[in-house]
Subunit: 349 residues, 2 copies
């Protein structure tokens, strides 16, 4: 395999280019990859000069514009052809980089990916997949925000892509795929879930286990949680917000009296480990279904989160996830064609 | 005001009739209300005999059938006219009780309420409202499960009912009403949220503050969270599941080494207070929009949860919440009529 080159959007993080470049330096050293730093050249040069980069491979790729968090995604991508996101995606399209990594505006990353890199043939909608911490490890959830409104056949493709991802990247041999619903029983759900259920039951190559609820997801009983981008977004953001609030409440209660304050001091390293187990800024999100790999780091990601997102991209490339998705979608399309051909034979017979 | 009589479904709790009756006895004593215990008479008599009920008012109302958790709601309500749920709802319809309280099958409680008690005139869909703990108190969320699929005009009515509830029961003078969405900015959301947004902006009598995300809800920045029953259900169940998991993880980490174990022992009372602040079995859910008050206790509610649900019903009755909803819906209907009359004048002029 050729050395991996990542096109990294230096301009997208809430914490500024410094954190992004620190993350890039750490990733280059840890994983032996090349990184193209895309953004304002003078800023990149100044930040890069603060690090020891001996033996590492960086290219500075100038991009004069920046897409801001508040901009309308598709309009911004069209209006700013020289933005760091668009330039980085163009590198992936031209084969100058194998993956695009950004901590910027999610919608814009999606729009830039679709417009510049394009979808895999047969994929109706790309989906944002994220790792989600459970009590015994992690599962993947998709879509968590690329598509607020979807149809059942979109969920079917999400199930296929998520399953392939879990098999290859998480190394789960037969990933348990479930639909997120308002009850575990078959027959529970909104119209979308009700329509998707039989479709997933009849999808070859996935291990569909029916509906699931949040408590089973956090308990680690599911490997791939399939949902629309609206509910998926509510799901991950609620888990994140609840975990933060609970840590705050625990701190308040622990420091409310002298005895428990001593307890809190002694328990500090344990609470730090808890925070680390749950820290979602470590988890990147992959935009699956495009002909090139796009990884979204958390907007609040610091150097560690950027490094994580780059590792995430590297894993996807090493496991050849895009070709696996191509084959998976092709398999399902072929099965559907065979079935419809058989149906025609039956009808004409 | 006449003495309140609650029709209590004794048969619905996961923990059996004993817990329900203990909760009823405590509520009767604490709030000076009457309770009609609806269910299998011999079981009720046996359980009631275990308590000192001197000075309390209970009626035993026999109902031979029980609607189970796994039954299809509407079919079960139709097939079991002598079930505890249907008998209790009939008491409310006939004015023999002012509210129906159950810890049983939520869908069946809704179906029994709609079929036996009926909707308030003008209400399109009743909604399930629940109290939700925040870092500085509580807000209300509706719908959390009565309607998996809704239209924008349903969300408008949920906003009106939730606002009235928060004003009267939570005593918030100008409750901040928000739509749960996948981003705070106007323009974020799925098709449903996008359609509901301008409708809520133009609804008289509510203090609409736009879209909200989970982090602002848990931070206590919203009083009334308006959402469809599918997303609302995912929202409250994810918060509940995350809080449970986090408590489990914290316990694991705290007991992982000898120093933090000592810390954990000292911190125990604080952690117990945390659990209490978050214990959702204390929170009942009201089914708003029916001509009678229906309160759903958590299926896992023990005596304390049943007592809470009865207190919840009592508060709703004391604040005359049903009449307030009638006026609120009438106000909006009248405003819409005036507007449409004005439009006709303009068109014909």
């Amino acid at each position: 395999m050729q050395t991996i080159n990542i096109a990294l959007d230096v301009m997208g993080s809430d914490h500024g280019p410094g954190e992004v470049i620190t993350g890039a330096v750490r990733a280059a050293r840890a994983y032996g990859i090349h990184v193209s730093l895309v953004g304002k050249a003078e800023i990149i040069q100044a930040e890069l000069a603060k690090h020891d980069t001996a033996g590492l491979h960086f290219a500075i790729v100038p991009a004069a514009e920046v897409i801001e968090m508040s901009e309308k995604p598709a309009a911004a991508v069209r209006a700013k052809p020289d933005s760091s996101m668009v330039v980085a995606c163009r590198m992936v399209r031209n084969g100058e980089a194998q993956a695009f990594v950004t901590a910027g505006n999610t919608g814009a990353a999606l729009a830039a990916g679709i417009l510049q890199i394009g979808r895999i043939k047969g994929i109706l909608r790309p989906a944002l997949l994220t790792h989600f911490p459970t009590s015994n490890g992690a599962c993947v959830v998709l879509d968590v925000g690329a598509n607020a409104d979807v149809r059942a056949e979109h969920l079917q493709q999400f199930a296929i892509m998520g399953s392939i991802y879990a098999r290859h990247v998480l190394a789960v041999p037969k990933p348990r795929v479930c639909l997120l619903s308002n009850g575990e029983e078959a027959g529970k759900g909104n119209q979308l879930v009700l329509a998707a259920y039989p479709l997933l039951e009849n999808t070859p190559g996935i291990n569909f286990q029916g509906n699931t609820e949040s408590k089973d997801v956090v308990a680690g009983l599911v490997d791939v949680v399939v949902t629309d981008g609206f509910s998926g977004n509510v799901f991950i953001k609620t888990a994140e917000a609840t975990a933060s609030m609970l840590q705050k409440i625990i701190y308040e209660e622990l420091t409310a009296g002298p005895v428990s304050t001593v307890g809190a001091l002694l328990a500090k390293p344990a609470l730090r480990r808890v925070r680390h187990r749950l820290d979602d800024s470590q988890y990147g999100a992959a935009l699956l279904g495009l002909s090139g790999l796009v990884v979204k780091a958390h907007g609040r990601a610091r150097a560690e989160g950027i490094q994580s997102a780059i590792r995430f991209a590297k894993q996807g490339l090493e496991h050849n996830i895009l070709d696996e998705i191509r084959s998976g979608i092709h398999l399902v399309e072929a099965a559907a064609e065979t079935e419809s051909a058989a149906l025609k034979v039956t009808v004409s017979a």
